[in-house]
C-alpha cells in the first residue's frame, strides 16, 4: 500500500496557550489581571521551578523579550533564548521543525514572536505544550493588551464607559488589534484616529464600540486614555506618508493632551520615537504612563506564564 502523509493535524492548542485576545474568554482575561496584581517579581514564589521556557524570537524586541525572561526567572523557570540569527532558522528550518526541536530538547512552553501573522497558531496546533504569542505580524500582541489593561485599571475604576483614543498607525499595529478586542469587550468606547493609510475604514469592524476619525481633536475630546503608536517603518511596504504632514496633524503635543480629560493618561507600547508620534514633553509629562506599562509587563507576564504551566493558584 502506498504511504500517505497524515492529514494536517488540526489539534487544539495546549491548555494554557495564549494566542490571541479575540478568542480569550472574559473570565480568563479577568483572572489573568487578578493574578497579575498578586505577582511581585521581587517576592515571587518559585511556582515554575525546573520548568523550561523557550523564548523563540524571530523579530527584534527589547521590552517583551526581557520582561518575559525576567517574569520566567522570577518564578524560578529556566529560560533559553532562540533567535532567528545564529540558529537553524537561518539555515531554512521550518517553523514547525523548530517547534518539534525545541519540544524535543525539553521545552515546557514556548513564547514566540514572529513576523508572520498566525505563526503561533500554527505552532500551537502541532505541539502539545503551551504556546504564548509575544506578537505575530500585524495580528495580535495579547500580553501587551493585558499589561495595558492592567495599567489602565491602576488609574481607572473599570473599563465600562471609558473613552479611549488610539492614534497612529493602526493598520500595522498588533497591539491595537489586541487592545480593541480586550477593551471593547468590557465596555470601553474606542476612537481610532489617523490618516486613511494607517486607519482604513474597515478597522471599525474589528470589534463593537469602535469608530474611526481623521481629526485628532475629535478623538481626544473627553478621552480618558490616549494610546499612541509608533510609525512602523519596517512594515510600511511602499506606503508613502509624509512625516511632516503626519507630525502636523497627529503628533501628540502637550497642547493636544489638554483636549482630553484632565485625568487622562497617555500610553504607548514602545518603542517611542520622540519628536515623531509624540513630543518629549508628553513622553516625560505627568500624564505619561509609558514607563509604568513597561514595569507592569513583568507581573502580567508572570501571570501568563503561571497560567500556561498550570500553577495559576
Amino acid at each position: 500500500m502506498m504511504h500517505r502523509l497524515p492529514p494536517y493535524a488540526m489539534n487544539k492548542p495546549a491548555r494554557g496557550s495564549l494566542l490571541s485576545i479575540e478568542h480569550l474568554e472574559d473570565k480568563e482575561i479577568l483572572s489573568l489581571l487578578k493574578l497579575a496584581r498578586r505577582m511581585n517579581p521581587l517576592k515571587a514564589r518559585p511556582l515554575l521551578r525546573n520548568k523550561r521556557i523557550v523564548l523563540l524570537f524571530y523579530e527584534a524586541s527589547t521590552r517583551t523579550r526581557s520582561s518575559f525572561e525576567i517574569a520566567a526567572k522570577s518564578l524560578g523557570a529556566i529560560t533559553t533564548l532562540v533567535q532567528s540569527s545564529g540558529s537553524s532558522i537561518e539555515k531554512g528550518e521550518s517553523l514547525l521543525d523548530t517547534g518539534y526541536t525545541l519540544r524535543a530538547v525539553g521545552a515546557d512552553a514556548i513564547v514566540i514572536r514572529h513576523p508572520a501573522a498566525g505563526a503561533p497558531h500554527l505552532m500551537a496546533r502541532h505541539l502539545d505544550i503551551p504556546v504564548i504569542n509575544a506578537g505575530d505580524g500585524m495580528h495580535e500582541h495579547p500580553s501587551q493588551a493585558l499589561l495595558d489593561a492592567f495599567t489602565i485599571l491602576k488609574h481607572k475604576k473599570s473599563f465600562k464607559g471609558l473613552q479611549i483614543a488610539i492614534i497612529g498607525d493602526i493598520y500595522h499595529s498588533r497591539v491595537t488589534r489586541s487592545n480593541c478586542h480586550l477593551l471593547s469587550r468590557f465596555g470601553a468606547k474606542i476612537t481610532l484616529c489617523g490618516p486613511p493609510e494607517f486607519v482604513p475604514e474597515v478597522a471599525a469592524t474589528l470589534a463593537s464600540g469602535l469608530r474611526v476619525t481623521r481629526h485628532i481633536e475629535e478623538a481626544l475630546r473627553g478621552a480618558d486614555v490616549i494610546m499612541l503608536l509608533r510609525l512602523q517603518k519596517e512594515r510600511l511596504a511602499g506606503q508613502k506618508i509624509r512625516l511632516q504632514d503626519y507630525i502636523a496633524r497627529y503628533q501628540m503635543t502637550a497642547a493636544r493632551v489638554k483636549l482630553a480629560k484632565r485625568d487622562a493618561i497617555v500610553m504607548h507600547p514602545g518603542p517611542i520615537i520622540r519628536g515623531l508620534e509624540l513630543t518629549a514633553e508628553v513622553a516625560d509629562g505627568p500624564q505619561s504612563r509609558i514607563i509604568d506599562e513597561v514595569h507592569n509587563g513583568v507581573p502580567t507576564r508572570m501571570a501568563i506564564l503561571a497560567r500556561a504551566l498550570g500553577k495559576a493558584k
Binding site: 500517505r4 502523509l5 497524515p6 492529514p7 494536517y8 494566542l19 479575540e22 478568542h23 521550518s94 517553523l95 514547525l96 514572529h114 508572520a116 501573522a117 498566525g118 505563526a119 497558531h121 500554527l122 502541532h126 505575530d136 505580524g137 500585524m138 495580528h139 495580535e140 493598520y171 498588533r174 488589534r177 482604513p200 474597515v202 478597522a203 469592524t205 474589528l206 511596504a237 511602499g238
Partner: protein
C-alpha cells in the same frame, strides 16, 4: 486487473441503459439509452430503442447520464513538480470527479512554452486516464515579455494560451496576444490580477484580513484587469478572451459588458468561490488559501446569480495540488491553491442545485457544453451521435462524505475534508471505456 485484450473488448461497445440523459447541446432531458462504439456515440435513442447490440451494458436506472465533464483549469504539475501531482494521479482524480477531459495549465517547471512540451504532456507514457488538453504559455517562460509561437503550440495540440499565475499586465503584450489569438482562433486565458496591487497579500481584502493582520487583495486588483481585457477584446475583431477563475462582482460587470457587445468573452468560476467566503479562512487555515482568494458574501452572491443567468460559461476547478510541507507553514508563506477535481460536482449539486435551486440541466451545461464551447473542443460536451464516447454518470441524490485521505490526488490540500455532500459520480467513461466506477 483486466488484461489488455479484455480492455480492448470492453471498449468496443458499451450500452448505457435506463439513465436520464441531460445533454444541453442536443436539448435532451429525458430517459434515453446510449450505445458507444469504437470510442464514439453510435446511437442515442428512447429506452429500449437502440438497435445495435453491445458486449457490455451499464445499468444507469435512477442516474443522470451526461456528456463527459470538461475542466478548463487544472494544474497537474508535470513537468517538474511530480511530488505535488502527476498526470497519472491528477487524471485519476479527475476520473473520480467525473471529468473526462482536463485542460492543463502551463506554469510547470519548465513552463510549457514550446510545442515539444505540449507534445510531451499528450504522450501516452504520461499515463493519463482521461483526455488531457494542454494550455500553453502565452509568453516565453511566462515572463510577460515576448509572445510564444501560438501557431506551433496550437498545431502541437494546445487549446488555449495563458500565463496563469502570472497575469499579463503590459497592455501592448495583452493586445498582441489577443490579436495573434484572433488570427488563429485561439483563446487567451487571463488570470486577472494586478499584481502591482497585491504584493505580499495572502487573502481577500476586508474585515477578515484586517482582523487577522494579513495584507489583502482588493476586488479592484481583479476587476481592473478584467475591465482592460474586455475593452481590448471588444476592440480586436475575432479575439477570444477567457477570464479564468473569476471571483468578484465587479469583474462580472465587465464580462457582461463584453458579452452584450458581442465580444468573444467567456469566463469560468470555481466551486470554492461559489461555496466559501473569506471569513472561512478562520484562524489561518492554509487549505483555504488560494488565488484568487475567497471573497466577500456580496461577491459570492453575484457569482451565484451569474451562474444561474448564463453569464458564467463554465465551472472549472483550478485544481492546484501542493505537498504538505508547502501548506503546513505560516499562512503568508503557504502556497496558493487547493485540490478540487473530486469535489466539484458534489459542491455544484449540494450548493447550486439543492441550496440555490439552479436546475441540474444548467449545472450539466456548466460542466459540459459550456466549457466545450469556450475552448472549441469539437465532439466533446455533447452526446449527439458521432460525438466522442465521453460520458459522466452520476447520482444526484447520493449522500456521501468526502475524505481527503482517500483522494486519488497526490496531495490533500482541500478545505472540504469531511464535508457531507449530496450528489456523487457513479461512473466515468472516456472514449467508450469505463475509467472509473464507484464502489
Amino acid at each position: 486487473m483486466l488484461s489488455a485484450k479484455n480492455q480492448k473488448r470492453e471498449s468496443a461497445t458499451l450500452l448505457i441503459k435506463g439513465g436520464h440523459v441531460i445533454d444541453p447541446t442536443a436539448k435532451i432531458n429525458a430517459l434515453m439509452d446510449i450505445l458507444l462504439r469504437d470510442g464514439r456515440v453510435a446511437e442515442i435513442a428512447l429506452p429500449n430503442k437502440v438497435r445495435g447490440s453491445a458486449e457490455e451494458k451499464f445499468d444507469a436506472r435512477g442516474l443522470i447520464v451526461a456528456p463527459g465533464f470538461i475542466d478548463l483549469h487544472v494544474h497537474l504539475r508535470e513537468p517538474g513538480q511530480g511530488y505535488k501531482e502527476t498526470i497519472a494521479t491528477g487524471t485519476a482524480a479527475a476520473a473520480v470527479g467525473g471529468f473526462t477531459s482536463v485542460c492543463t495549465m502551463p506554469n510547470t517547471a519548465p513552463v510549457v512554452d514550446t510545442e515539444e512540451w505540449v507534445a510531451w504532456l499528450r504522450h501516452p507514457e504520461r499515463g493519463a486516464v482521461v483526455n488531457v488538453f494542454p494550455i500553453a504559455a502565452a509568453t516565453l517562460n511566462s515572463r510577460g515579455a515576448a509572445l510564444t509561437d501560438f501557431a506551433a503550440l496550437q498545431r502541437a495540440g494546445a487549446v488555449a494560451v495563458t500565463d496563469d499565475g502570472k497575469p499579463i499586465l503590459d497592455d501592448e503584450i495583452m493586445r498582441a496576444a489577443l490579436q495573434l489569438g484572433a488570427e488563429l482562433n485561439l483563446p487567451v486565458v487571463q488570470h486577472a490580477e494586478d499584481t502591482r496591487l497585491t504584493e505580499n497579500a495572502s487573502m481577500n481584502e476586508g474585515p477578515t484580513s484586517f482582523r487577522l493582520g494579513l495584507r489583502g487583495m482588493t476586488a479592484a486588483a481583479e476587476a481592473s484587469i478584467v475591465d482592460r481585457d474586455v475593452t481590448l477584446a471588444q476592440q480586436i475583431r475575432e479575439s477570444r478572451l477567457h477570464v479564468a477563475h473569476l471571483s468578484t462582482s465587479d469583474a462580472l460587470k465587465s464580462v457582461r459588458r463584453g458579452k452584450r457587445a458581442k465580444a468573444r468573452v467567456t469566463c469560468e468560476v470555481t466551486p470554492h468561490h461559489f461555496t466559501l467566503l473569506d471569513e472561512n479562512v478562520g484562524e489561518y487555515k492554509t487549505d483555504f488559501k488560494m488565488n484568487p482568494p475567497l471573497r466577500s458574501a456580496a461577491d459570492r452572491e453575484a457569482i451565484l446569480v451569474a451562474l444561474a443567468d448564463g453569464t458564467v460559461d463554465a465551472i472549472a476547478t483550478d485544481h492546484a495540488p501542493h505537498a504538505t510541507h508547502e501548506k503546513q507553514v505560516e499562512f503568508e508563506r503557504a502556497a496558493f491553491g487547493i485540490t478540487g477535481l473530486e469535489t466539484a460536482l458534489a459542491l455544484a449539486i449540494t450548493k447550486l442545485h439543492r441550496e440555490h435551486r439552479i436546475p441540474l440541466t444548467r449545472i450539466v451545461e456548466l460542466f459540459t457544453a459550456g466549457p466545450a464551447r469556450v475552448f472549441d473542443l469539437r465532439g466533446r460536451g455533447s452526446l449527439a451521435r458521432g460525438c466522442f464516447g465521453d460520458v459522466t454518470i452520476f447520482d444526484p441524490k447520493k449522500r456521501w462524505t468526502f475524505e481527503a485521505a482517500k483522494s486519488r490526488s497526490l496531495s490533500q490540500n482541500t478545505p472540504f475534508d469531511g464535508w457531507q455532500f449530496t450528489g456523487k459520480v457513479v461512473a466515468t467513461v472516456v472514449g467508450g471505456r469505463v475509467v472509473y466506477r464507484a464502489d
